[in-house]
């Protein structure tokens, strides 16, 4: 990824990031397990590798009907990310297979700027110590891979107005 696009120019522009990537070349980033729907993984339990694969883009009718793709759906389709050869893996544009625990590499192909910020701990959430061990969340812990835009959520209650606190003055 960062290494593949050549670190010389990257190092000059983003010293911190590339350094972080260089400290662990090819090493996986520590993340909690991917948030699979219960019972969904391994996919090969249902997608028997001996069965023929229908690669045609179509409305799903036998399974996964609940998935409504809202992620560049005009151009994308299951097998752009999921591997047809090995159902338990994802694949990059190059054809390289990646585990679900490394799905950030797949997302990073299109969302390079977010991927870069994420590696630096600036896009998304990190858990741990500011001066010590940190672990990352996968993109899919916060964003649904099939509909990544956040849904609006109810806010917590507005503060009590100062008048109502009995002070009789607005701050």
């Amino acid at each position: 990824m960062l290494a593949a696009c050549g670190h010389e120019h990257g190092e000059a522009r983003y010293p911190g990031v590339v350094k972080a990537a260089l400290q662990s070349p090819g090493e996986k980033i520590e993340v909690p397990p991917p948030p699979f729907t219960e019972g969904a993984f391994p996919c090969s339990d249902c997608h028997d590798p001996s069965l023929p694969v229908n690669r045609e883009r179509r409305k799903l009718e036998m399974a996964h009907q609940e998935i409504v793709l809202q992620h560049d759906e005009e151009h994308r389709w299951c097998l752009d990310c999921h591997s047809a050869e090995n159902r338990d893996k994802l694949h990059l544009a190059s054809g390289e297979l990646v585990d679900f625990t490394e799905s950030y590499r797949l997302c990073g192909q299109c969302h390079g700027d977010k991927h870069r910020d994420w590696r630096a701990g600036v896009h998304g959430r990190r858990i741990g110590q500011w001066n010590g061990h940190k672990s990352y969340l996968l993109c899919v812990h916060c964003h649904s891979s099939h509909a990544p835009k956040f849904e609006p959520k109810p806010p917590q209650p507005a503060p009590v107005r100062p008048e109502a606190l009995g002070r009789g003055v607005v701050r």
Binding site: R125, K153, P154, P155, P159, L165
Partner: protein, 296 residues
Amino acid sequence: MTKTTPSRREFLCALGGCAAAATAAGCSDLTHTSWFRSAFRELGDDEKKAIVADLEREHAVKYGKPVKVGTEGPLPDVEFGYALDISRCIGCRRCVYSCVDENNQSRDPQLHWIRVLEMDKEKGIDFAHANAYYEAEKVPRDGHFYLPVACQQCRNAPCVRACPVGATWMEKDGIVVIDYDWCIGCRCCMSACPYGARHFNYGEPHVPPEQLNPDTHYLGNRPRTKGVVEKCTFCIQRVRKGRYPACVEVCPVGARKFGNLLDPDSEVRYVLEHKRVYVLKAELNTRPKFFYFYGL
């Protein structure tokens, strides 16, 4: 201490004599350490220990459970900084209430260290038309963006200069703190702060014992009393032990970033070096260590 500026101890002694003041009826619950002592900054380790032991006893009686009052000092080579991504904040106020829980802010009367301002996208950052009292079924609301404001931890802090008794100061790691036992409640700091970040306990603060966070720091979230000023300390009780502030951990969109400004590999430094960053009311030359940025 020169003769012309009597210390608090000398002043109290002059009022009625040390022995008399300490034993006077009605004052018997005043512990020696909380009244007849120097400002926290000037204390030796032994004095600190004695004071903290007294406080822990008092709090344990009041809340019916053990309460720890820490005195951890600043870590070497650390200056804390904070960065908040206003292109991501959705105004959900999760940070406000996690701060209340972590830092033992009074539930009734209500007191909040973080205020989330709703602003019009069309107007841009415009405090005159900002609204902290927005109610909505869902956030973010169309056409609006959100700007949470708490203490900006200024390097050139007007509040520190305004305090007539030296009850508030900046620590070596950059956290502006208050000694609640030294604060006289004059509220000069509140009128000096251009961010409305300081809050006064007009009434007796109330935190239900079962909700009290017992892991406290002397200069941070220990229980306060009526008549003192309080504000955000970057969660001093957490960050001096390497943890992130509570608001950083709770924010559902990851808008809040925290770390050491002196560490070139920290998250805040990355933000400062690679993002569009600004500070609130820069024209006042307060030099905040709280930065806002556009992450998108």
